[in-house]
């Protein structure tokens, strides 16, 4: 385990009026690890992710990225620091081709956005990097297809490709396997397995098998509270987790 956390939260809270969506969460995310976050519905997993990418501002607490507190900066500045995210609901540019989708992402790093005399249709370098990103997620054969016309699973892959194209250090993935068939899920699992060597990945996911298989660290959350963080085996054997999931019997998951 590396000594320095790349991304870290300190006493992170998010209240919606009186509702404590997230209460005092302190977590550390390390490079080269996949950190799974699980919990029943409404546990605050997505809220956590939305805070980590700057989409929401925390009520209190700090987010520290590479040793700097970043909770006060603008959402787009999070992405500039290399914190890329995917959304729970597919969030792509449906009317554009897959390549174009990735080009928007690559372009930010390449610059030239304000050189209005260079055409966006003749950018070899840009296209190359974007194509590489597509290749990484296995979407090369869909390069010139309109994003709205590819299958749902492929759209999720495309979204990951877009995040990868921004060359992030941290990947925040919000249920990348939601609504996917078994085979498509397997594809994503293989993909994440290869990606987690290079990136720090925070994975929020309902698919328990997938999370158990992929996670190096696993955090369980219940009702906005942090329950336990540890290796997969530690979490699996923890009595409180069993209670949270199987527990009182008044809720069915």
């Amino acid at each position: 385990m590396s000594n320095q956390a790349i991304l870290e939260t300190e006493g992170l809270c998010k209240y919606w009026g009186g509702l404590k969506a997230l209460d005092n969460i302190s977590l550390k995310f390390y490079e080269g690890q996949l950190h799974g976050v699980v919990g029943p519905n409404g546990a605050g997993k997505s809220t956590l992710l939305n805070l980590l990418c700057g989409h929401y501002k925390p009520t209190s607490g700090r987010i520290i990225h590479k040793g700097e507190a970043i909770d006060a900066i603008k959402p787009w500045a999070f992405a500039r620091r290399g914190i890329g995210r995917s959304f729970q609901k597919t969030n792509i540019y449906p009317k554009s081709t897959c390549l174009e989708n990735c080009c928007v992402a690559v372009q930010r790093l390449m610059g030239g956005t304000f050189n209005i005399f260079s055409s966006r249709y003749s950018q070899k370098m840009l296209d190359e990097i974007a194509t590489n990103a597509l290749e990484k997620v296995g979407l090369l054969h869909r390069r010139d297809h309109i994003a709205a016309q590819i299958s749902y699973g492929e759209q999720r892959q495309l979204e990951i490709a877009m995040v990868l194209a921004t060359s992030p250090g941290v990947l925040l993935l919000d249920e990348p396997m939601a609504g996917m068939g078994h085979e498509e899920s397997l594809l994503i699992i293989t993909l994440l397995q290869s990606l987690k060597k290079e990136y720090c990945i925070v994975l929020v996911e309902h698919d328990m098998d997938a999370v158990f298989e992929l996670s190096d660290q696993l955090t369980v959350m219940v009702d906005g509270q942090h329950l336990i963080t540890g290796s997969v085996d530690e979490v699996r054997d923890d009595a409180r987790v069993k209670e949270a999931y199987l527990g009182q019997g008044d809720e069915v998951y």
Partner: protein, 320 residues
């Protein structure tokens, strides 16, 4: 290629040669020449609005503010009885309008959707009432312009603005340049980001773009060009009055833009031509022309869902 759609190229090859030759047929009748000039000027204005609404998704009902400001800024800064340089004053007026747009944009662009429509309208109404109540600027009657600018550039004077034919060509040139300019922007990487913002702002933020900044730039550019159109209009008729700033001007431009096909840029010319054509022909037929005009526009919007340009593209573009 700059004009990447077949329909667009076809339109340009038909419209601009025709427009170039038009004064040859109409030479005796300066009424039509000046009518067409006005259509060109307004097309330019609609085009700048079309870019905002159709390309950037910034729906504004206050664009006429800049149209009127173009004229009023000229009245404010130009000496009354002295011919100034047209190009220089174009630069001045566009810069001042851009500065104003920058300031207003900082406030307006914090909102979106219906709120943005309301707040742009509020700003435009403020400008409207300011000018229609001001003694200095002639209140409701506006201001007369006694001397038109001269157009020498490096000692070369190509246009005589008092000559309607010359003025017609100046407006045609401006229209073409504006269209090419918007197409260049849309083709550039900046245009790609603007498209992305229009299609999916959240995603674009998540990719690390400062969406507000991009919107502000687009708003400023379009407003400066809107002011340029107002400046041309002022020069054509030799006066400014507050009706240029009124919200009906914005509304009309919006209708033209929708009619032509939002976001297609060249559709702005189509929309303006069709609207003004209808206006002109119906006006001569009946006193209640607005009634028929309204009905026709509703019908057209229903038939051409993506405007006239969208309809033409459906007919002419190869299906992929």
């Amino acid at each position: 290629m700059l004009f990447n759609k077949r329909t667009e190229r076809l339109f340009i090859w038909i419209f601009f040669p025709l427009a170039l030759m038009m004064p040859l047929f109409l030479e005796q009748n300066t009424f039509y020449v000046s009518k067409l000039t006005t259509v060109m000027i307004f097309s330019l204005f609609v085009m700048s609005l079309d870019y905002l609404v159709g390309r950037c998704g910034l729906i504004t009902l206050g664009h006429a503010m800049f149209y009127g400001l173009g004229g009023y800024i000229f009245v404010m800064i130009a000496p009354e009885y002295e011919a100034v340089n047209f190009w220089l004053y174009t630069l001045y007026i566009c810069s001042i309008a851009a500065a104003i747009a920058l300031l207003i944009g900082l406030l307006v662009l914090r909102t979106s959707g219906i709120y943005m429509i309301m707040i742009t309208l509020a700003f435009a109404q403020m400008a409207f009432y300011y000018f229609s109540d001001s003694i200095e600027f002639g209140g409701n009657d506006g201001v007369f312009i006694y001397v038109k600018p001269e157009t020498s550039l490096f000692g070369l004077s190509l246009f005589d603005l008092d000559n309607p034919i010359h003025f017609y060509y100046l407006c045609l040139l401006s229209l073409f340049n504006t269209m090419a300019f918007f197409k260049i922007i849309m083709r550039s990487r900046f245009g790609r980001v603007m498209d992305a913002i229009h299609e999916n702002p959240d995603r674009t933020v998540a990719l690390g773009y400062n969406v507000f900044f991009f919107k502000l730039i687009s708003y400023t550019i379009a407003s400066a060009l809107g002011a340029y159109a107002g400046y041309l209009f002022t020069l054509q008729y030799g006066f400014v009055n507050p009706s240029m700033l009124s919200w009906t001007t914005s509304g009309t431009a919006l209708v033209m833009s929708i009619l032509g096909g939002m976001g297609s840029i060249y559709g702005a010319i189509l929309g303006t031509l069709v609207y003004e054509g209808l206006h002109y022909s119906l006006e001569h037929l009946t006193e209640h022309w607005l009634l028929f005009m309204g009905a026709l526009i509703i019908l057209m919007v229903m038939v051409f869902k993506d405007g006239i340009a969208g309809y033409l593209e459906k007919l002419l573009e190869k299906r992929s």
